[in-house]
C-alpha cells in the first residue's frame, strides 16, 4: 500500500471572478495525506477548503498541478470513476428515494446484486445507529439522522478516501459534539482515510491526526494537532488556533534556537525559534505566548519574569483569565486554573503581580 492516500502536488485553482478578474481559490498547494489518517483542512471562510476537497472528488479540475490518490494521478478522471466518496455539507440525500435506496445507490451503480446491496446497506445503517430506517424518506429524519445517512451512504462503498465538507456545520452544539466522537469512532473502526474540512479550530484539534491550516488559498502549516497548537509557524496560525498573546520586538542575540528578544518598553524575553527558521540580530519579530502557559504563581527556573498590574479579571468556571499590563503598555492574558478549593482569585484588579513564562512557551514568529 502506498504511504499516501491523497497527494496534492503544486495544485492551483483559479476561477473567473464576477467582474472579469481572476480569483485564486487554491494557490500552489502541496500536501500529503497519509493512508488511514484523520486529516483536517482548517481555515477561515473563503480560504479554499471546499475547492481543494472538490478537486480531490473530481467536481473541479485543478488549473495547475496534479492530484494523486494512492499514487494514481487523477488527471481528468470524472467523479464517478474516482475511488473516493463525499459527505456533503447539506447531506444532499436523494429526496425521491427511501433511506435504503439512498444508501444502496453507490452499490447499485457498481452493479452489486440486490441481495448483497440490501445486506450491506443495513449493515452500514447499523454502523451509524440507524438500523431499520430503510423504508423512511429522507425528510422524515432529523438533521443529525440525515447526516448519519449521508455517512452510511458514503461508507457503504468502502472508498479509499472519505471526503467530508463541514459535515457538522448544520447541527446544534450538543449534537455536533456527539457526532465528532461518532465520526472519530467510525474512522477508527473502518480504518478509511478521512479528509475533513472545517472552519472550527476546536473541532479540527479534537478530531484530527493531522491538520492543514489554510488561509487565502495557501497552506500555512501542516502537522499534528499538538504541533500546530504548540509550535505555530506564523502569526496567522497562532492566532487562528486557540487563544494567544502577541508581543512585538527585535532580536537581540541568538544561539541556536534560543533567541533573546527585546520587547517594547525595554523588556527582555528569552524565547524559542522554530527549527530551521532563520533569525538574525536586529530582526523584527513577534513573540507568541499561550495564556495557559503563563502563570501568576512563581515556579522554579522560570525564564522570563515580568512586573505588571492586573487590569481585568474574568472568572470562567474552570479557569480565571487575568489581563496584565506590562511596561510599554503591553498586555498579556494569563490563564490560571481554579484549583484552589474555594476558587479564590490570585489577584484583584489593580494589584501588582509578576507574570512567569518559560523560554519554550515563548515562540518566535518571523511572519
Amino acid at each position: 500500500m502506498p504511504e499516501f492516500a491523497v497527494e496534492l502536488r503544486n495544485v492551483s485553482k483559479r476561477f473567473p471572478g464576477p467582474s472579469g478578474e481572476i480569483v485564486t481559490a487554491v494557490n500552489n498547494v502541496t500536501m500529503q495525506i497519509k493512508d488511514g489518517e484523520f486529516f483536517s483542512m482548517l481555515g477561515p471562510s473563503g480560504c479554499g477548503k471546499t475547492t481543494s476537497l472538490r478537486m480531490i472528488a473530481g467536481f473541479e479540475l485543478p488549473t495547475a498541478g496534479e492530484i494523486y490518490i494512492h499514487d494514481r494521478p487523477m488527471g481528468h478522471t470524472p467523479p464517478y470513476k474516482r475511488p473516493v466518496n463525499t459527505v456533503f455539507q447539506n447531506y444532499a440525500l436523494f429526496p425521491h428515494m427511501t433511506i435504503g435506496q439512498n444508501v444502496g445507490f453507490g452499490l447499485e451503480m457498481k452493479g452489486v446484486e440486490p441481495k448483497e446491496i440490501q445486506r450491506r446497506s443495513s449493515e452500514a445503517l447499523e454502523m451509524v445507529r440507524l438500523a431499520g430506517y430503510e423504508k423512511r424518506m429522507a425528510r422524515q429524519l432529523s438533521g443529525g439522522q440525515q447526516q448519519r445517512v449521508a455517512l452510511a451512504r458514503a461508507l457503504v462503498n468502502h472508498p479509499e478516501v472519505l471526503l467530508l465538507d463541514e459535515p457538522l456545520g448544520a447541527l446544534d452544539l450538543k449534537l455536533r459534539k456527539e457526532m465528532q466522537l461518532e465520526l472519530k469512532r467510525l474512522q477508527r473502526e473502518v480504518g478509511i482515510t478521512f479528509v475533513f474540512v472545517t472552519h472550527d479550530q476546536e473541532e479540527a484539534l479534537t478530531m484530527s491526526d493531522r491538520v492543514a491550516v489554510m488561509s487565502a488559498g495557501n497552506v500555512l502549516q501542516m502537522g499534528a494537532a499538538s504541533e500546530i497548537y504548540e509550535k505555530p509557524n506564523c502569526r496567522f496560525v497562532a492566532d487562528f488556533i486557540g487563544e494567544t498573546n502577541f508581543l512585538e520586538g527585535a532580536v537581540k542575540a541568538q544561539t541556536g534556537r534560543d533567541v533573546d528578544v527585546e520587547l517594547a518598553g525595554g523588556l527582555l524575553c528569552r524565547a524559542t525559534a522554530d527549527e530551521g527558521s532563520q533569525v538574525v540580530s536586529g530582526q523584527k519579530v513577534t513573540v507568541t505566548m499561550r495564556p495557559e502557559k503563563l502563570g501568576l504563581r512563581p515556579w522554579q527556573g522560570a525564564d522570563n519574569v515580568y512586573d505588571g498590574r492586573v487590569e481585568e479579571v474574568v472568572y470562567i468556571g474552570t479557569d480565571t483569565h487575568y489581563t496584565v499590563v506590562l511596561a510599554g503598555d503591553q498586555r498579556l492574558r494569563v490563564r490560571e486554573q481554579n484549583d484552589d478549593p474555594l476558587s479564590r482569585p490570585l489577584a484583584a484588579i489593580g494589584d501588582a503581580v509578576k507574570v512567569y513564562c518559560d523560554e519554550v512557551s515563548a515562540r518566535v514568529l518571523t511572519e
Binding site: Y80, L93, P95, H96, F105, K110
Partner: protein, 281 residues
C-alpha cells in the same frame, strides 16, 4: 375553528360561481336539445338508437369532424412531447451553464409568450412560405412533392409556441433544485446520463409534467397560430368549429363542446391528483 361567515360573502361567492359556470351548464344542457336550430330549449331529444345522446352519435358519423379531432390529438400529442423535451433541456441549460449571450437567449426564449399570438402566426406563415418557396424552386420540387402548409407546419408552430411555456414552468421547479444532489449521484459512481435519469428527472418531474400539461392544453385549443399555418389536411377542431359557426349551428356543436369539457375536466383532476401525490412524496 368554525366561524360564522358573512351572508354577503356567500352571495358574492355564489354569483362568481354562477357567472363562471352558467355558460358551461347551458352549453351542456343544449347538447341534449331536441330543436335542431338550438335557439330555445324544446325538450330533451330522443331520437334514433342513441336516445338523448342523439347529437353525440351524430358527431361520430361526421367524417370531417372525426378527422379534425384526430388531427387535433395528433398535433397536441406530438407538439407536447417535442416541446416538453426541448423546453426541459432549455431550462436545464439556462439553469446550470454560463455561456456568452445567455441573457439574450433567455429573453428571446420568452418573447413568444409576450408577443401577440397573431404576430407569431403571421410571422410563421411568412417564414414557411419563404422557406418552402425557396426549397421548392431550388430542388425543383413539384406536384405532390412540393412542400406546403399542412399538419406538419401546424405541429412545428405548436412546438414553437409551447417551448417557452414548458421552459418557464420547468425553470420555476429548478429554482429550488439542489445541485449537490447531482454531485452526490456522480460521487456514487453514476455517470452524467444515469444521474439525469435516476436523480435529476425524478426530482423535477412534477415541473416537467406541469409543463407538458400546459403545452397540451395550449395546443388543444389554439386557433390563431393554427389558422395561419394550416393547410390542406391540417384542419384541427378549433378551425373546424370556426368553419361550422359560419354556417348553421346545431346541438352537435354543443355535444362536441361537452365532450371537450369532460376531457379537460378529467385531465385536470388527474394532474391535480398527480401533483398532490408528488407533494406527499
Amino acid at each position: 375553528m368554525t366561524k360564522r361567515r358573512s351572508p354577503w360573502l356567500l352571495a358574492v361567492t355564489a354569483l362568481v360561481y354562477i357567472f363562471l359556470y352558467a355558460p358551461i351548464i347551458v352549453l351542456i344542457v343544449f347538447a341534449f336539445n331536441s330543436s335542431r336550430t338550438n335557439v330555445v330549449f324544446e325538450g330533451v331529444v330522443n331520437q334514433g338508437d342513441c336516445g338523448p345522446f342523439y347529437w353525440f352519435c351524430q358527431l361520430g358519423r361526421n367524417r370531417e369532424l372525426v378527422a379534425a379531432a384526430r388531427n387535433t390529438l395528433v398535433v397536441a400529442a406530438t407538439s407536447t412531447v417535442a416541446s416538453t423535451v426541448i423546453g426541459t433541456m432549455a431550462a436545464l441549460a439556462l439553469q446550470r451553464y454560463k455561456f456568452p449571450g445567455k441573457a439574450y437567449s433567455e429573453i428571446s426564449l420568452y418573447i413568444p409568450i409576450v408577443i401577440p399570438e397573431i404576430v407569431m402566426g403571421v410571422g410563421l406563415l411568412v417564414l414557411y412560405s419563404a422557406l418552402f418557396g425557396f426549397i421548392n424552386t431550388t430542388f425543383g420540387l413539384n406536384g405532390d412533392n412540393r412542400l406546403s402548409l399542412g399538419l406538419g407546419t401546424v405541429i412545428l408552430s405548436h412546438i414553437a409556441f409551447s417551448v417557452p411555456f414548458v421552459a418557464l414552468v420547468v425553470r420555476a421547479r429548478l429554482q429550488g433544485f439542489d445541485k449537490a444532489v447531482e454531485e452526490a449521484a456522480m460521487d456514487l459512481y453514476a455517470n452524467e446520463w444515469t444521474t439525469f435519469w435516476r436523480v435529476t428527472l425524478p426530482i423535477i418531474f412534477p415541473g416537467v409534467m406541469s409543463g407538458a400539461l400546459l403545452a397540451f392544453t395550449l395546443s388543444l385549443d389554439d386557433f390563431i397560430t393554427t389558422f395561419f399555418t394550416t393547410g390542406p389536411g391540417g384542419t384541427t377542431l378549433p378551425i373546424y368549429v370556426y368553419g361550422l359557426l359560419r354556417r348553421v349551428t346545431t346541438p352537435e356543436l354543443n355535444a362536441l363542446a361537452t365532450i371537450w369539457i369532460v376531457i379537460v375536466f378529467v385531465v385536470l383532476m388527474l394532474s391535480q391528483l398527480a401533483g398532490r401525490r408528488s407533494e406527499a412524496h
